[in-house]
Subunit: 356 residues, 2 copies
């Protein structure tokens, strides 16, 4: 498969071994992706993992007997507790690293993995390398808001982001919002703890000045607070990987708490139960809006190739959603735009003195 081949479709490698639900769910996701047409007639899906195991599981899904489905053997697995260094040193034959290797050598266009985030960030960065001008990748999540969605990044790739990293996150997130949410000029907000200028410390101030200096090359609207995210303040919320990850986990925790609180009480009270039945379509709609499988994958932006991280607990719908998001991003050829935008950002960064 050389780059010269006239290629209409895309090739996606699915790391089948890293998810909490195991390879059977990944294989079921592959079958679902084909059935739903997410993997189109010109696309190829490479299932990476223990080949015997995967082939056995694939026998349960007739549509996987397709020339569009390829198996790639990987003898070991990256576990949820494996440290990034362990993975890079002693798990080079894992499904995660082999999938990334396929991306590196150009045999696939994207990798989707439900594996351990830290390992995927480290192995992705080492194998696939960051784009010229980017130092660190950023994980970009699509989040629900009152109307529609917004992009939150970084949700965990780079916990100690510098102002320069945050500016890179802004330009990468802007292009991702264009391709994933279809917004022509996404409004960029910088997450802080008070929207007056001067709040949030030196790192935020420097980032704010750099983003202002970017002029019209991005649609920067200024600092935003956590409260504003779920309104209609902006389309991309920029923050460091520590804060972004905490937000993501906090929301998951809160939504889970509310579901438990409401669910337990409704189950124990026939009047509530009756009310709940009347409201069932609303409950289903809310669940749909909030459940992570709707948003599936977070791409690791800023690498020389598309790596999609899907939630470790993803079910088949979640994995299919990550594959779909990946194919959409590939379809928009966002990589080249990101490269150009990073170069422009770095030009502005080096032209903007530390104290403005």
């Amino acid at each position: 498969m050389s780059e010269a081949t006239l290629k209409k479709g895309h090739r996606i490698a699915l790391d089948c071994m890293g998810g909490d639900l195991g390879p059977s769910e990944a294989v079921a996701a592959a079958a679902l992706a084909l059935r739903e047409g997410v993997i189109g007639p010109d696309d190829t899906l490479v299932l990476v993992g223990n080949e015997d195991n995967l082939r056995l599981l694939a026998m349960e899904h007739r549509n996987l007997k397709s020339p569009r489905v390829i198996f790639k053997h990987a003898p070991t697995i990256v576990g949820p507790e494996d440290a990034p260094m362990t993975v890079l040193k002693s798990k080079r034959d894992s499904s995660m690293v082999i999938a990334l290797e396929l991306l590196k050598v150009g045999e696939v266009d994207a990798v989707v993995s439900t594996g351990n985030t830290k390992a995927l960030v480290a192995a992705g960065t080492i194998k696939v390398r960051t784009m010229e001008g980017a130092e660190r990748p950023a994980l970009a999540a699509i989040m629900p808001r009152r109307e529609g969605h917004f992009v939150l990044l970084d949700v965990g790739a780079n916990p100690e982001a510098t102002p320069e990293h945050l500016v890179h996150n802004a330009v990468l997130g802007s292009i991702y919002a264009q391709s994933s949410l279809g917004i022509a000029h996404p409004r960029i907000g910088l997450l802080t703890v008070g929207t007056e200028e001067g709040k949030g410390g030196a790192r935020i101030n420097r980032t704010h000045n750099l983003l202002k200096a970017m002029g019209t090359s991005i649609n920067y609207i200024g600092p935003v607070e956590g409260f504003d995210m779920f309104g209609d303040a902006c389309d991309v919320v920029v923050t460091d990987g520590f804060t972004g990850n905490v937000i993501l986990k906090t929301l998951e925790g809160l939504v889970y708490m509310l579901r438990e609180l409401v669910g337990n009480k409704v189950m124990r009270n026939p009047v509530y139960m009756a009310g709940g039945i009347a409201m069932f379509p609303l409950v289903r709609e809310l669940k749909g809006k909030l459940k992570p499988e709707r948003y599936g994958g977070a791409p690791l932006l800023g690498l020389n190739g598309l790596v999609m991280k899907a939630h470790g607990s993803s079910n088949r719908q979640g994995i299919v959603s990550a594959i779909r998001l990946g194919l959409e991003a590939l379809g928009h050829g966002a990589g080249k735009q990101m490269q150009t935008a990073l170069a422009e950002a770095n030009r502005v960064i080096s032209a903007t003195p530390e104290e403005v």
Copy 2:
């Protein structure tokens, strides 16, 4: 009023001018606090603000004609957008600064303010000074979880906390959880982005090592993630003021979004409306659990005197709740315990080398 006076009750200064709902709400809160017995027979409430204005408003509440209610005139007001430096330089005659001055000179035991957080943190730190051994104060919020509550700190006083500040937050938060939640040995968790050791960067690692080195002087259970907060993982969640503030605002935003989403749909659909009526007690209970007025005030821990920050949008119940929390904290004489705990923390900090 000298310290030598045999004093049974406590004296609280209420900054009446800084809240979004204005002085009429603060005065109504004062009346409510007396009526509900929050201000007991031996306590004194000092209403700080434009005296003519306050006396006029007080005429609407008969129980404010009490020797337990004192008026203290302050001609200016700290606005929500006033920068801390402006307040310290040109608003020394504001209700906020005059209330803090009363605390400084010992005329009151605590200050409750709905004013601008940054200004209150700065003016509180300058006027009341940090305890010996503490460099910065921390705002501690009481948050709902599946069962009961937990303390989250810092929610916005010190956005750029060092490992030493985080250790101070841990010991201060532990004592606050004892007095406010009545937990004998509060479990302390350090908020991070992955519970394996080594995640979350150098600052978190150093903090983790210091907290471990504290041994049995605090009940440190290790790193926790945002997801765990709403379960039963720990009673005190320690983080920096940037992350903590973002969490607080994010939760407010999400809860508001859910309320809007559900509310709008229920109002437009008679079947949902019927279901909603059946579930009304549950909805009310959930609202009670989540609404900020239940938790009212966040103390600025680590100062030589008790400063309670109430939400800017607090209604009378919210302000009364802040007064109640303040009086509870005073009743426990937590200040001296905090002083001792800070000394112990600093002993451990200086005995623990940077790389463990």
